[in-house]
Amino acid sequence: MNCRKCKGCEISSNVLIDRFASKRIALIGNPNCGKTTLFNLLTKSHQYVGNWPGVTVDRVEGHVKDYNYAIVDLPGLYALSPYSPEEIVSRNYLLSDEYDVIVNIVDASHLERSLSLTLELASFNKPMVIALNMMDVIAKQGISIDVKALENALGVPVVSMSASKKKGEKELLKTIAKARVPEIEKYYDKNVIRIIDSVANKITDEKSLFSRRFIATSLLQSDEVYLEEHESNQAIMDSVKQGIKELEEYTNTDCQAYFADARYSAIGRIVDSCKKKQEKGNSNITKAIDTVVLNRILALPIFFIVVGFVYFGAMYFTSYLELIPHTADGETEYLNITDYVNDVVFGEFATSIVENMLTAVSSPDWFVSLMVDGVVGGVGAVLGFLPQIACLFLFLSFLEQSGYMTRVAFILDRIFRSFGLSGKNFIPLVIATGCGVPALMANATIDNINEKRIGLITTTFIPCSAKLPIMTMIFASVMNNAWWFAPFVYAMSIFSIVCTGIILKKSNAFNESVSPFVMEIPDYHMPSLFSVLKEVYTRCRAFVVKAGTIIFTVVVLVWLLSNTGVENKNIGFVENVDNSFLAMIGGLIAFIFAPIGFASWQSAVAMVNGFLAKENVVSTMAVVLGLSENTLEEDQSLSQALVSFFARINGCDENSYLLPIIGLSFLSFCLWSTPCVAALGAMKRSLGSNRWFLFAIFYMTAWAYGISLVIYQLFGYMYGVVPFNTFTVIAIAVLLLFIVLLIRPSKHKGVSLSIPSKRID
């Protein structure tokens, strides 16, 4: 059954594989222990990615063909506490009866810490096998581990491996059949086991029987989730209270600290029995590189250089560097990759093929136009972004998999933390100066879901290159080339990002529980070409499929609306855009823009076309003002026409202060409201749910409208060009609302508590 290509029955094929598998395996281990590499090694490409219900954690499953094993790859985690979504999802899975064997990957180069999870897993009372990975790394460090001794000490089979070197895989698969249930009596004090069992024995719920010891141990550590679950069971609650009391008397410390300590003491004994040399931390190469890369003075400059490379790869290489020769009408010019894909591959090549095909079968004109301008145009709009996205992720996955991104989070945390973002948000913002689509996709590497969401909402506040023509158009016409214009725009962008972060961070919706900021800095690791390419492929595919459908739909829809209408009393295709349905709709919604100064069907239509691609705003304005659509943004005729247009619809003189104010208002709305449909598609894909997507749209539109309102009404009133009216009052209210949202106390305490000294017990 080779169903991996069919996304439709993804779920049912998993279930079938699961049901007919000879063994079901739960694969679990710390982050950075080589789990993904091992998973890929075992399952080759038979993998399915889904979602754990209720949380934003990927559920990855696979199938080992030769042995007919089903594997669930649980998220990388350090422990099984009740605090973060990954841990909860994994605990629940481990407590279920949906698997037969636990394969725990242990990083041999960080043995002591890795075994902490192992000992927690032991209390689930399920057969286990340890895959002792990264044996090649410790061999290089001159450390050796007595695997047999480790097996004896732990009481479960241990398979020595090096997943990256593809060694040990067969041995592991064979050993799974010999998995054994660990005996925690080997690790802990008799007295403690007695206390654990006194609680465990009270848990009589059938489903939990085999893992009662885990639940009991958790209850004794005041685990919130289980305490709530068993609240009503008096017998359990009493035994827990009794157990905690006894334990704290016996050990003279609180239970949480006790269990951590007991685990690590047991680990100390185990490690001593099988290893002679003490680990000194990360490998020497890693330490050497970090001395430079994390040096207090060099860290930031080096970071900017790295970001420069990423930008170079994603934007410059694909959108500016003129590489590809193209000959048209006897002239050869050099095009950059993106332009080549858009203008040549789609603009000329695909267009002419489709056109020829259709004319050959005598298709009606309107159909040809639909297929060529609408469909090919739509598909081209999506696929045109692929070069940028592919290049971006080539660099980003390399950085992420090499381990550098953790260092980035370390370097920039202090600045970004105060407005709800993290160091990892910086790179998307830089890329956004080029194009919002790859920038939004770049937010994918952010693990903290709150920071990721805020990042996705704020990334497109930075003006992308498509918005530059709009800026130039306004600058050249109504702004009289004011020197402060460009600084104003960029300052406003950054201001928008920072304020949005601060405002959103205060609300509960953006404080979903995540792991506290306690991160391991992993060894540097040279990513394999295969895994980098695999990620590039996965991201590109996800973009095309998920973002692509929206983009395509909207392009075709707008094409339809702008080419059909009522002309000369006939409903059908129109020549003049003034008569299109789009213009009609524009006229209907124009009043929305009245409070911000540019209520007219022309600007409304420009906005809608800008929705397709921001650079369309300029060409649309040119067309509706009677000029050719190819008029350049700095063209005098466009500037003049724009000035006259704004003056006319507001009934004022062409030299009035009103014009720059309108210009700024118009610009603000174009720049900071929702980005083009391609970026929106990328945003939706990255945000995941419709709920968040709608919120993002609402927020950005409200934000931009608020800025435009304040500019037009308040500055307009201050300069005496806009009379006092209801909207002046509304504008003041909006300003006040903004200030309130910005300075109100946060409803949420924050994951890391700032404990004033008197609370330290």
Partner: protein
């Protein structure tokens, strides 16, 4: 009371107690191996002084200063 955020860079310390009982952060610190009696080295600070990198139980960990304030140590 000496806490981890106050000790100088590159110095070793032994953990005496982890405060803030009942919080997810404390649980996380304990789970990562910062337990009573364990050796900790403050390796470096980030360019802006925060967060800090620690060497504990054979690996490198980053925590924020406001969280390091909860780890009582003796040098």
């Amino acid at each position: 009371m000496k806490t981890l955020d106050k000790i100088p860079v590159l110095s070793n310390a032994v953990v005496k107690k982890v405060h803030a009982k009942g919080t997810s952060l404390r649980r996380r610190l304990l789970d990562m191996g910062i337990t009573q009696g364990c050796q900790v080295t403050k390796v470096r600070q980030a360019p802006l002084g925060d967060p800090i990198e620690l060497n504990v139980r054979g690996y490198s960990l980053i925590i924020r200063n406001e969280d390091a304030m909860l780890i009582e140590v003796e040098c």
